[in-house]
Point group: C2
Chain length 616, copies 2
């Protein structure tokens, strides 16, 4: 265990992602990643969405002890609605130290802000509040630039998709962002005390986002590892990160994470509150919970998972389930409710929680504490009863202009996924849906990033705004660095598949660029355009390690002698050699085909499914 | 390179799959795998479908040099429609040896049958032919027993699914199998010269099947490795295996594979034919191709991929594609057609190929040579033109009672997947569809088992009968043993997810058993019921290696102090302590809830979305 007084050495992964460089676009210097292609291809560089923050910028100075630059602070101060105040003192129990002894703890983040910001009396800092008053914030402008990525290159592409009633624009204006936030169809999680955060939107009419979970547990993990997991997960594309720490040192771990995070950080505050009462759910009180919310609000948590929909009458509906209540927050609240035989204090005090949210601009992530934990329990009465309550709570939060998203399952067989989306949209007034998977079967522990990636891609297509990743270790153990990467990349591909299927105007740009590179044997371009260039190149090298094989016009499947892609090129060359543009060639062929077909029909006497020449 | 005269040492993986034992059911001794659960659970053993053959049977004697027992030989001889004859002599070019020198080759299989079987003159050996004459073969009986697996345990489960027009029975009778085969909705690939094969069915109203590809290439691989890959892939669940060897030693490699395979073996005969003409597609002739079909028919290949739908007029339709023609067989035929400017000899001689198929009972797998190789090319004119031709050819094959399945794409975004299924069913008269993936995005090389697993699960749900696996190395290199396993398990979970969503009467039995084990912390049962018990246990041990942790009533996510599953148990216990059965408890709670709701409505004046007490 590190000496509490020694400087904490935290190594994080820095440097550009292979084959790309960081660029900054527009007056807000919106971060993007640009992939340049081989000069011989004559293709424009491809810009891709970038969640990785300054860590992939070779020009940035990374100092984990100091935290990231405060991008949003000038915007916040310019609005004139905030005040600095003396923050709540950190208590030993915030870190699971019930006495003054901090041994076994971790060093505190050296650069803690002792005077946080909050709304001045009567003010409301939420992006929704600004939006509803017609104000376009720099956060909304930033989001518009960020989301427009690639739409320039896609101008000539024909829109092609099935969006199930979404309203994805050809071009994202700041006004469009404002309108979506005002209507509650999108959120921009942005706690005033997390000015390091690069603004991003979660909503059905924007790119589908993904979340990665990290955090200490009572059994394993440490703070340096968790900070690196955060940096590592955003490197590969996590749009938000949830710190689900339990056990000790929760407060200090979170401080290190938030100060160094360019993406919104979410938490489940009841986890920390439970630690403060020694793990005894029935000892939880509204006062302890409220104090925990303030603690986390001052640190800069951007969204809170609040399981206020686990109401007393719904709990017995789970008694006949195969897997009962599997949500940790849900079961904590279930235990509390049953022990006291009282309605949930989260439900009872919901409007007070909303007051806190609006003072810091914390978004709600209304937790699905009764989500199904198995195929058998999907779409049951308990689950949907809670969902309707979440819909009621959404409207209560919106009444105070507080941003809301809704958490969803879980374990759901494919044929029951769409019902989840449809019911959520109807019950929650199109508030963004944020689902865990869902897993489409229970029988593949060790592969649940895949069982859930299938469900995630589908529900993302149907309209879910953010997909919470699942790693290969789900149900079995704690994810390590490799598991985090596999989880993130799996969810990134699921989210992208959803964007493609919804007909996002620019999603196809990257697929097409990669496919052209593949077809033309531009191996380096193919690697660099992929979600994980390191793995792509490594797999290629396992079969054909020589440097020359990366410029060779063949691949390991067929070898140099015969290659289907090479033959297709010959088909094109053949067409070209006819001294005709391929269109004319096609026209000529089609005419020939037409004649042949007519002749065939004549011989057949009209039966389309008989051989052209029955005598043959 | 091994000495051609030395005995080939082939090591294959044997022994039971962890936590299960091989059983044989019914008069045909149908192989299944049975997983016994902890005695404390009071649960019945779970029987699962077993493709692994004698290799997982501790009582079986495995001798790779001798091949497997000839399960089907007595059935074949009893039908009285076969004759033994002097087989075609193996030629040097069958193994890519253009001179008499066999150096660089592999030892021939020691136990080669020199006198293969075929239909007596005027006879037809196809299962479809028997089925149409009302004959229930032992193969059909075997399939019925095999498919009924678990239906006994599922008797009390309510059917729940969306089957998109399939006709899955509650119970599979031999007569049902016969009828499906007779109608062409299912096939039982079963070359008379592959008597080692355990009969299985591919059809929309049976369990969704998966195929694994193996094979030498010109660049890498060797015969011992390929035999082990076959054994390894069926261990994890491959229902059929395709030998896609190219380069040298194709004939001998295939002999070793077929003689040791308890699952149907498919090939793409044009690959070998191309090797026989030195890789020059335009030098292919019908005679060389026909001779290759006979060669493979005599060895026992169970299904042939024939790209007879790549007709001359369709080829130019691919010129404007992003990735042209990516099917190897398709591009060979395209090159031949263009070089000669003639219609495909496969199309022209289709009925002659059918004659060969019926003499040995080889099923067609009509190849989609024009399948899309990228998202951009999905569902285009070239693809569907070929599909309609495959529909025409299906009916021509059926006219001779020859079994047919249809190959499908490829790369297809989610919103275009269902159109593939619908068009295939309509064009091909419900002949089984057999798809490669499809991949739902192009941007994740290294993860294409997942991009394709998503599409595979969906198209399997929509009605595809068999899913051709894709490994993580797809597009990049040759799969090794680990890649084969990951590919097979990914496809197994996709196929199972499809069975669940279709409402297969027994699919849920395994999910529910595993979920109960998970809920009750029966870790061993959870591992053993999973698709890959080894990986599940290994992942668990990475976090909690101690033996005690496998019986502990907590997991690594929450640790011993708090556990959501534990709390749910307490919820149940609480309900029980009320001295009421949980039904009564629920009824009481519901009454309370009802009263509360009524009171709430009264106070609200009918507005459901306002807080119950606005003053609060």
């Amino acid at each position: 265990m590190a000496d509490i007084n020694s400087k904490l050495e935290i190594g994080v992964t820095t440097g550009p992602i292979r084959g790309s460089k960081k660029i900054h676009v527009g007056k807000n210097r919106v971060a993007m990643r640009e992939i340049s292609l081989e000069a011989s291809s004559g293709e424009l560089p491809v810009r891709v969405y970038d969640t990785s923050g300054p860590y992939t910028d070779p020009d940035a100075v990374i100092d984990i002890q100091a935290g990231l630059p405060q991008l949003r602070r000038p915007w916040q101060l310019a609005r004139g609605d905030v005040e600095e105040y003396d923050g709540r003192a950190v208590k030993p129990e915030d870190n699971g130290q019930l006495g003054p002894d901090r041994s076994g703890g971790v060093p505190a983040f050296p650069n803690v802000v002792r005077r946080p910001l909050r709304a001045r009396a009567g003010m409301n800092l939420s992006q929704m509040h600004y939006a509803r008053r017609g104000i376009i914030t720099p956060e909304m402008e930033y989001v518009a630039t960020r989301e427009n990525l690639g739409r320039e290159m896609a101008r000539d592409l024909v829109r092609d998709g099935q969006d199930w009633g979404a309203a994805i624009p050809d071009y994202v204006t700041p006004e469009f962002v404002r309108d979506e936030v005002a209507r509650g169809r999108a959120i921009i999680p942005s706690n005033v005390n997390h000015p390091e955060c690069e603004p991003m939107a979660i909503g059905r009419n924007f790119l589908v986002k993904i979340n990665a979970n990290i955090g200490n547990s009572a059994v394993a993990s440490d703070v340096a590892q968790e900070v690196e997991k955060m940096v590592w997960s955003i490197r590969w594309g996590a749009d938000t990160v949830m710190d689900l720490s339990t056990g000790r040192n929760i407060h200090d771990t979170r401080e290190w994470i938030i100060r160094n995070s360019p993406v919104p950080i979410g938490t489940v505050p009841i986890y920390q509150a439970l630690e403060k009462v020694g793990g005894v759910a029935e000892d939880l009180t509204w006062e302890i919970f409220r104090d925990t919310l303030i603690e986390q609000a001052e640190q800069g948590v951007d969204y809170f998972t609040i399981h206020a929909g686990v109401r007393l009458p719904y709990i017995p509906m789970t008694a006949r389930r195969v897997t009962g209540i599997v949500s940790r927050g849900g079961s904590i609240m279930a235990k509390w409710c049953l022990s006291h035989h009282k309605e949930s204090f989260l439900y009872e005090h919901f409007d007070e929680i909303t007051e806190i949210c609006k003072a810091y601009d914390i978004a709600y992530s209304l937790g699905d504490g009764l989500r199904p934990g198995s195929i058998a329990d999907a779409n049951d009465e308990a689950q949907f009863s809670e969902l309707y309550t979440l819909g009621e709570l959404t409207k209560r939060a919106w009444a105070q202009d507080v941003q809301v998203m809704i958490e969803g399952p879980g374990h759901v067989p494919m044929h029951k996924i769409k019902e989840n989306m449809d019911k959520q949209l109807a019950a929650c007034g199109e508030a963004p849906f944020y689902t865990l998977g869902p897993l489409v079967t229970d029988i593949a522990p060790g592969y649940d990033h895949i069982t859930s990636g299938i469900g995630a891609a589908m529900i993302g297509w149907y309209g879910t705004a953010m997909l919470c990743y699942v790693t290969p270790k789900e149900h079995l153990g704690l994810p390590d660095r490799d598991d985090v990467k596999v989880g993130v990349v799996t969810y990134k591909l699921a989210a992208h598949a959803a964007d493609l299927a919804k007909g996002h105007p620019a999603a196809k740009v990257r697929d097409d660029a990669l496919s052209r590179a593949r077809f033309e044997f531009r191996w380096r371009d193919q690697f660099n355009l992929s979600l994980d260039p390191d793995t792509a190149e490594q797999y290629h090298d396992q079969t054909l390690p020589a440097e020359g094989a990366k410029t060779a016009h063949f691949c390991s499947m067929c070898g140099p002698k015969f290659c289907s892609m090479k033959i297709t090129q010959e088909v094109r060359d053949f067409a070209a050699k006819q001294n005709q543009p391929s269109d004319a060639f096609i026209a000529a062929e089609e005419a020939e085909k037409g004649m042949e077909e007519m002749a065939g029909k004549y011989r057949q006497g009209g039966d389309l499914y008989m051989p052209a020449d029955p005598a043959e």
